[in-house]
């Protein structure tokens, strides 16, 4: 038995020596081939196997003492072949040791904007440089999104590692759909992409194609009411006039829409609020009355967005003109005391405000000039206050009382304008004529000027009455203030 073992060992040694003699003759080794390429010192061939270098973690790799230049490993952390240059461990696709290798992650890969409860989504982009000298990593957005959707990176350049918020906003006017947004990270010559999928859900659409009066959006368009917040976009077509027929009713109200709803308005037409009426004449004991306030265009009861580049007209009603009046007991020699009432009505305000008229009556001498009505339409103008500038003769027996009022009621305001204050005085010239032997005696030459500020004109209405709800102007914001421009007239607040 022992002899048999010795025999077998001898055969193996002889065989090995033969093989070594072959290597020694060709100076290279082939595995899976008997004819290794002469240029290769080791030539491997297989159809069902691969070459497996040492698999090390980064920590294990870095524990190799004095790695030889060209030492090759597979990095199990980064899943990549690495070799030692004599200076650094390089990824096989790196060009030099300073090439930037980084990772990039998104907090979410998809999101939705419904424009009712939210107008935006935020995605956190995190980058981390894992190789190469520390470098800046630039982030870019490639967004295939419709008008009304904007993207913004809070931190577009990150050094080495860090994060940036990608904020995506959508107006209520953006076309609904699903849109891709690519986030691109660039560090040196290395470029990475991540894809984000944005979904914008649709809003209700209401088109105003014919004139309306005192429009109630929820009611007229049969929209959901309380408990069902929605977004809705109302578009006023060119040439269409929406108006109100009384200052107590705005041109547009939202009706019973849920308070969490979001209304968008695109106005290519004209939204014209009713102007305040001119003040009626005062009673006998007053000096007139203030003009009436103008009507509002939109009374917000939900959040609202207004497209501001449409060249549509948004005109609040003007304030009516204040009336003036003097109710005065004038004592005239010879005749005694007369209650005289002189007044002018305030002018109506655009649109279509009525001029003030007289409410005086039953007095002994009434002189009144009614205010004029305003006109309507986009070119509507406020009416002028009534004007008194002519003499009125009151003959009684031999006495002739000439009453000459001078003044006018306040003018009605144009769209979004204040009504004005009027002014008034009254001159009395009283003569008595006796044909013989005297002639005509001037017994009273007296001007009554109360020297007061008569009641003011009315205030203009609101172009937009927010009632505390947020107003979003698209693309330009509409801060709370008083507007008097070509397309906006009235208060926003």
């Amino acid at each position: 038995m022992r002899n048999k073992t010795i025999y077998t060992l001898a055969i193996a040694i002889i065989t090995s020596l033969y093989a070594l003699s072959i290597k020694a003759q060709t100076n290279n080794v082939g595995i899976g081939t008997l004819t290794p390429d002469p240029s290769a010192i080791l030539h491997l061939e297989a159809t069902k196997q691969g070459f497996l270098p040492p698999c090390l973690t980064t920590q294990q790799r870095d524990s190799i003492i004095n790695p030889h230049m060209g030492l090759l490993i597979f990095n199990t952390v980064d899943s990549v072949l690495q070799y030692y240059t004599g200076y650094c461990w390089m990824y096989v696709f790196q060009e030099n040791c300073d090439d930037c290798i980084f990772d990039m992650y998104l907090s979410d890969t998809a999101g939705t904007i419904n424009r009712t409860t939210t107008d935006s989504v935020i995605v956190t982009v995190t980058v981390q440089q894992i190789s190469g000298t520390g470098q800046a990593i630039g982030l870019f957005i490639l967004a295939n999104v419709p008008n009304g959707v904007t993207t913004h990176l809070t931190n577009p350049i990150i050094n080495y590692s860090g994060s940036s918020d990608l904020i995506i906003n959508s107006t209520v006017f953006a076309t609904p759909g699903v849109y891709p947004i690519a986030i691109q990270g660039i560090c040196g010559s290395i470029v990475k992409f991540k894809l984000y999928q944005l979904t914008i859900t649709p809003c209700y659409v209401v088109n105003i194609t014919s004139p309306t009066t005192n429009y109630n959006l929820q009611q007229a368009a049969n929209l959901p009411g309380p408990g069902n917040p929605i977004c809705v976009v109302m578009t006023v077509y060119p040439g269409v006039e929406m108006k109100s027929d009384t200052t107590t009713k705005p041109v547009v109200t939202f009706g019973n829409l849920d308070l969490q709803s979001h209304v968008g308005i695109i106005n290519y037409g004209a939204m014209l609020a009713r102007g305040g009426n001119g003040a009626v004449g005062g009673t006998f004991s007053t000096f007139g009355n203030p003009g009436n306030p103008g009507g509002d265009v939109v009374n917000m009861t939900t959040r609202m967005s207004l497209m501001t580049n449409t060249f549509g007209y948004h005109y609040a009603g003007g304030g009516g003109g204040g009336s003036v009046g003097i109710g005065y007991p004038i004592t005239i020699p010879i005749l005694g005391t007369f209650n005289i009432a002189v007044g002018c009505g305030g002018g109506g305000a655009a649109a279509l405000g009525h001029g003030g008229n007289s409410i005086l009556g039953g007095l002994q001498i009434n002189i009144f000039a009614a205010g004029h009505d305003a006109t309507g339409g986009v070119m509507g103008q406020g009416g002028a206050g009534g004007i008194l500038n002519y003499a009125i003769n009151v003959p009684i027996g031999p006495v002739n009382a000439t009453i000459t009022p001078g003044g006018a009621g306040g003018n009605g305001g144009g769209y979004g304008e204040f009504g004005t204050m009027g002014s008034l005085f009254v001159h009395f010239l009283v003569t008595v004529t006796l044909p013989w032997p005297i002639g005509t005696i001037t017994v009273l030459n007296y001007t009554y000027n109360p020297n007061i500020n008569f009641p003011p004109g009315g205030t203009p209405g609101h172009m937009i009455k927010r009632n505390g709800f947020p107003l979003i102007g698209v693309p330009l914001m509409l801060p709370d203030q008083f507007y008097q421009s070509s397309y906006y007239k009235g208060y926003v607040n």
């Binding site: 006796l434 044909p435 032997p437 020297n451």
Partner: protein
């Protein structure tokens, strides 16, 4: 019957007045027609003081105004008695405008002798202007210095004639016609009562409230 009684009353009154000479205290009632005026003026004459009342009714209510010319101040004191109030006011004499058509450019003043008007022996004067002829009957016995009131009585041809003739007295009848004979002004005296004027007639009673107080602008 009433008219007859009225004429008799006038006649007796005037006859009684005739018996007096150089009257310095009298009340005269005259009727005046002209322009739009057709009413009575009651004159109060005492010394060289003159006052007169003018009455008219409107809507059934009577209005009486007393005018007291004040030569020193150049004003009329005007006491207005209305149905509801008593008012004191003044009017500047310089602002008095003559009656429309009154022409101060007198062409001629002619004394036409004496004539008895309603029993009173009057001096008749004829005053001519370019457009009118006026017959004036002046009672020279009324000693009131009438012409010194020229700045107040600016529509009286009789006053201008008396001034021209330096005549004293008081006109008790005046009739002005135009060149076509149309009566422009006619004044007749109905009644003269001698010694009937009290000094109070010329006083400004405190019952009359100054118009400046009545028309004080109210404060609001």
């Amino acid at each position: 019957m009433k008219k007859t009684f009225f004429l008799i009353f006038c006649f007796i009154s005037i006859i009684g007045f005739l018996s007096a000479q150089n009257i310095s205290n009298a009340t005269l009632k005259t009727t005046v027609k002209g322009g739009n005026f057709d009413g009575q003026i009651t004159w109060f004459l005492k010394g060289d003081k003159i006052a007169f009342d003018v009455q008219f009714t409107n809507e059934g209510k009577q209005y009486t105004t007393r005018y007291i010319p004040d030569r020193t101040k150049g004003i009329f004191h005007i006491l207005s008695t209305t149905p509801d109030s008593k008012i004191y006011s003044t009017a500047e004499a310089k602002l008095i405008e003559p009656t429309p058509g009154f022409d101060r450019n007198i062409i001629s003043v002619e004394q036409a002798g004496d004539e008895v008007i309603s029993g009173i022996n009057c001096k008749k004067i004829i005053v001519k202007t370019a457009g009118s002829v006026t017959e004036c009957f002046i009672d020279p016995t009324i000693n009131v210095n009438y012409t010194s009131y020229e700045s107040f009585f600016r529509s009286d041809y009789a006053l201008l004639a008396m001034k021209e003739l330096k005549m004293n007295g008081f006109p008790i009848a005046v009739k002005t016609v135009d060149l076509e004979g149309k009566v422009l002004t006619e004044v007749q005296t109905l009644n003269i009562q001698a010694n009937s004027v009290n000094d109070n007639v010329f006083n400004i009673s405190k019952d009359y409230k100054p118009i400046e107080q009545l028309n004080k602008p109210e404060k609001k």
